[in-house]
């Protein structure tokens, strides 16, 4: 029997996946997540505050991220909250990445992608 993969309560949207990816590197606050996502996708995915916090709320509820208790510095703005990927979140993100990888491989086998080698 294959090992059970934790599933989020709701299917992962691309935007949610990007937030998880952003947090896979480091614990970040909201604004930093926005910046990170924009940077990593070369501006292709641009989240607004409303969308971002809708996603954060869902990820918190599903236990994929948590709020970090300790703050990086005492002078940091109190309103900022830092989020961290949970092990479950990491697993869900990895599963999603694998799923995407398989999809890409399939696309390649059908010659839908021009490059034969991954970059």
């Amino acid at each position: 029997m294959p090992p059970k993969v934790p599933e989020p309560a709701q299917p992962l949207t691309p935007a949610m996946f990007h937030v998880l990816l952003a947090l896979a590197g480091d614990d970040l606050h909201g604004y930093a997540i926005l910046k990170e996502v924009a940077l990593r996708t070369a501006g292709e995915v641009k989240l607004s505050t409303g969308t971002l916090y809708g996603i954060i709320k869902r990820l918190l509820n599903d236990g994929l991220i948590i709020e970090r208790r300790e703050r990086p510095s005492a002078h940091d703005d109190e309103r900022r909250r830092y989020y961290r990927l949970t092990p479950k979140g990491r697993e869900v993100a990895a599963t999603e990445a694998e799923r995407l990888e398989k999809v890409v491989a399939l696309a390649r086998s059908r010659h839908l992608l021009k490059r034969t080698q991954p970059a």
Binding site: H29, G30, Y31, L34, K46, L47, S48, T49, G50, T51, L52, Y53, G54, I56, K57, D77, R79, R80, R81
Partner: protein
């Protein structure tokens, strides 16, 4: 924070308000910070465009997130609320039933009020339609019909109207089918239906040519008659039927619409009525047989039309002084058709709406109380949830969701109840207004129910929320089941109980007064014996029975045949019979030897009857003799009068042998008898002066046959109709009904009003009593410990019962006192519904107070008995 930052924050916060409060509470500050950062970055890049784009993206994001968040919260809350409702199934069912009844009563009554009073008339430009009545002077009551020359003058000379159309009602006889059929016929102007905006379902409307003299006779069928007599067959259009002596072609079928002032079977143009088109009618200003309807020009007010037409009336008087009394100031009263159609129904509808509203208030107070009681039990759960981080807003929202669901389910139940009762209610309303057929549940009613449910949600949901202003820590310390009544909550619940009792008192008084009126009405001595009397209305074919002699002969043969029937004790004919709702035949007369004062001629109602009329109806003879067969054409003219007329004109004298003069003093008639007074038109109206003259001397076309029978009068109805056919096979009967039925119908409306009010009052009483019982039961369970202590130190069970009873009865009595005060202030509103009882009738007040107190006592007794059975040891141990 810099000034631009402050402004940005302010605008951003406004946007945030689109999100659920809880979401805002969780992330609002953070989102604000992120946005300020984003904006600062955009500003650093120095492009105005960038800032605009940021705003646009942000607003878009919030606009798409907000509905999603609201929906997900609602889903969460509803799921939880449903779980809680299932857990407290008893409470849930009680609340839904109480609310369902309250909302159902309101929805049902509103659906009537909506159809009858609120909706525009189902005619095109219904708001511009008027009914016109002439009056002789400013102070005289309006109500005179109008003559043909007068109508033509109004038509020609008015400036405010688009059209004036005429109407009168006749009975024609439809022949050529299995049995002759008497058909109610509206005789109208060719453009009558055009003015009302009613287009035939099939066939065509009347055209101007149809009203020309000598035009081929045509008919429009009413929708109901078409369904009833022709089974809804559309091929009836074009068929030819004989009506009286002439063939008539059916040219169309009318759509269903409220017919006023009569429900007619067929309509024909005015030229088809031989009376209306006779030169006598057309040329004589004083032959007033028409009713007029008019459509105002756009933007004309009814008062303006009235003034305009009154000017025309004044001109007519100047031009034709001989046709109007010298001292007359003729005028016209123009009543908007909507008012005309609904004025009779309006007071009753509003009374019932108020009563239903009161029931709803009681229901809400009751459910709010149930909610409060449940809150006590849930206090610990809510406390724990608060401690675990659920925000205040979240809990408040949770409570409101629960009451919303209750209100919605209650509303749905109410809608079902209303729908179920609608058929009964529209039959009831039909007694007041021709608009009854429009009563049904439509969008307006659904919206009303929704609004009521929302109102219920606010009323029932707010109380617990208000009462939750208590400290979290006390709640946790107190623990669940033993939580004492908080001060605010206790007071609130007592107030709700008092309110329920007070409003119930009001409703019971309203019901009590109308029920007493009904009993009084039923006890009114009508002056005749209505039981075992069959009435058969018929209208002689006016084209055939043209002479007095032929009419008298017909009636004589018919009476001979009916009197000979087994089971018939006596039979008679009469122009009108008591309580049949036909208009009074009022007329002037003179008293021989008193002709001096011609201006103030005495008036009386006239009835034309055959000799046995008094015997059939059981009206007592007070003096002189009955009418007899010898009082026929050629014999000296005689009359009998009622007691009231004798008292008015011959107080302390003997009227027998005196003469009255009819036909403008031309026709002397001798008074040969005085009989008892009869309530001719309605049981609640005073007796009027009446003169009875013999049918044989004053024959006419429209008598009614009446027969006193040994058993059920309806059992011989068919046989009587056969006798009618034996006299003339083409002479149909009209309405056939027992006199007892007429009497029952005459009080059907007050009876139903009393029944509905009684139902509402009983509902209120039951809800209020259950409310008191529930509150006392909770109080007992909360005071178990205290009761245990009291019993442990020697209190006897009777004392405990007294203690609980006095607490409950105290509340009930305060409610009754407030109810009495409110009733004194409000019962004058029902004055017009009362008969033989004053609005502040002491007996009703005392009776209602007693009933309410007894109900409260019964409701308190169960919890009190339970309190007395508390085992002190167990009670003490539970602490």
């Amino acid at each position: 924070m810099t000034e631009p930052e402050r402004r940005t924050t302010k605008r951003f916060r406004m946007l945030l308000h689109l999100l659920p409060a809880e979401f805002r509470g969780d992330f609002g500050l953070e989102m604000e910070q992120v946005f300020i950062d984003q904006r600062a970055e955009a500003a650093r890049e120095g492009s105005k465009m960038g800032i605009w784009r940021l705003w646009w993206e942000t607003a878009k994001g919030i606009f798409t997130t907000a509905p999603r968040e609201h929906l997900s919260m609602l889903r969460q809350d509803s799921t939880f609320a449903l779980r809680m409702m299932r857990k407290n199934l008893g409470f849930t069912i009680a609340a839904i039933i109480v609310l369902g009844l309250g909302i159902g009563a309101n929805t049902a009554i509103f659906s009537i009020v909506n159809a009858v009073l609120l909706k525009p008339l189902p005619y095109a430009h219904g708001e511009r339609l008027l009914m016109l009545r002439e009056r002789l002077s400013r102070s005289a009551p309006a109500g005179r019909n109008v003559s043909v020359p007068e109508m033509l003058d109004y038509r020609r000379q008015n400036r405010s109207l688009d059209a004036i159309v005429e109407y009168h009602n006749m009975q024609f006889i439809l022949l050529g089918r299995a049995e002759p059929e008497q058909v109610e016929t509206g005789v109208v102007s060719w453009n009558f239906f055009d003015v009302f905006g009613a287009k035939p379902l099939f066939g065509r409307d009347f055209a101007p040519d149809d009203e020309r003299e000598g035009a081929p006779a045509v008919l429009l069928l009413s929708y109901e008659f078409w369904l009833r007599s022709f089974g809804g067959d559309p091929t009836v259009v074009g068929k030819v039927f004989r009506m009286n002596d002439k063939p008539h072609t059916v040219i169309g079928v009318l759509p269903p619409f409220p017919q006023y002032p009569h429900e007619n079977d067929v309509y024909m143009p005015s030229s088809a009525c031989p009376f209306r088109s006779s030169s006598h009618m057309i040329g004589n200003r004083q032959m007033r047989m028409l009713r007029l309807f008019a459509r105002m020009k756009p933007n004309v007010k009814p008062t303006e039309a009235e003034a305009d037409l009154s000017t025309v009336a004044a001109t007519m008087q100047k031009e034709f002084p001989n046709d109007y009394p010298d001292d007359a100031q003729p005028g016209v009263e123009a009543t908007p058709l909507k008012a005309e159609l609904t004025q009779e129904a309006k007071p009753t509808m509003l009374l019932l709406l108020a009563a239903a509203g009161f029931v709803l208030l009681i229901a809400c107070a009751n459910v709010a109380n149930l909610n409060l009681a449940r809150m006590v039990r849930r206090e610990r759960e809510l406390g724990v949830r608060t401690a675990m981080g659920a925000s205040r807003i979240r809990l408040f929202r949770q409570l409101l969701t629960e009451s919303s669901l209750l209100a919605l389910i209650g509303g749905a139940l109410g809608l079902l109840l209303a729908d179920g009762s609608l058929q009964l209610l529209s039959a009831y309303v039909a007694r007041f207004t021709p608009r009854a057929r429009e009563v049904h549940i439509d969008v307006a009613v659904l919206l009303f129910t929704l609004a009521v449910a929302f109102f219920v949600r606010v009323l029932t949901g707010t109380a617990p929320a208000v009462a939750r202003r208590e400290n979290l820590i006390t709640t946790l310390k107190e623990g669940g089941s033993q939580s004492t009544l908080g001060f605010v909550r206790g007071r609130l619940r007592s107030a709700l109980i008092v309110a329920q009792v007070a409003v119930s008192f009001l409703l019971l008084i309203g019901a009590g007064l109308t029920v007493r009126s009904l009993i009084n009405l039923q006890r009114v001595d009508p002056g005749f014996r209505p039981e075992n009397v069959l009435t058969v209305q018929f209208s002689l074919d006016f084209t055939k029975y043209t002479s007095d002699q032929s009419q008298a002969n017909f009636v004589e043969s018919l009476l001979d045949k009916v009197q000979g029937l087994p089971g018939v004790m006596s039979a008679a004919v009469a122009g009108v019979f008591p309580l049949d709702k036909s208009p009074a035949q009022n007329g002037e007369f003179l008293i021989e030897g008193q002709q001096g004062n011609a201006a103030a001629k005495p008036t009386a109602e006239f009835n034309i009857v055959s000799p046995d009329y008094l015997k059939v109806l059981g009206i007592p003879l007070l003096g002189g003799r009955m009418l007899e067969r010898r009082d026929r054409e050629g014999a000296p003219r005689v009359a009998i009068i009622n007691h009231s007329l004798a008292q008015h004109h011959w107080p302390r004298q003997n009227p027998l042998g005196r003469k009255i003069l009819l036909n403008n003093g031309q026709l002397p008639v001798e008074i040969v008898g005085v009989i008892g007074d009869v309530r001719e038109h309605s049981l609640d109206q005073p007796v009027t002066d009446l003169i009875y003259v013999p049918f044989a001397q004053f024959p006419n076309l429209g008598p009614s046959l009446m027969a006193r029978t040994q058993g059920d009068p309806m059992a011989i109805a068919r046989t009587v109709v056969q006798r009618l056919y034996e006299v003339d096979p083409n002479q149909p009967a009209g309405r056939i009904q027992s006199l007892e039925q007429y009497r029952a119908d005459s009080i059907a409306a007050p009876r139903l009003t009393a029944n509905l009010l009684g139902l509402f009052a009983l509902l209120a009483l039951a809800i209020a009593a259950a409310g008191i019982g529930g509150v006392m039961a909770l109080a007992v369970s909360q005071r178990t410990h205290e009761i245990g202590v009291r019993m442990a130190i020697g209190a006897r069970p009777a004392e405990i019962v007294r203690m609980i009873l006095s607490q409950g009865m105290g509340l009930a009595l305060v409610g009754v006192i407030i109810g009495v005060a409110a009733a004194f202030a409000l019962t004058s509103a029902v004055k017009s519904f009362l008969f033989g009882v004053t609005p502040n009738d002491p007996a009703t007040f005392l009776g209602v107070a007693a009933v309410l107190t007894a109900a409260a006592l019964a409701a308190c007794y169960l919890p009190a008995r339970r309190a007395a059975q508390v085992d002190p040891l167990r009670a003490l141990r539970t602490e």
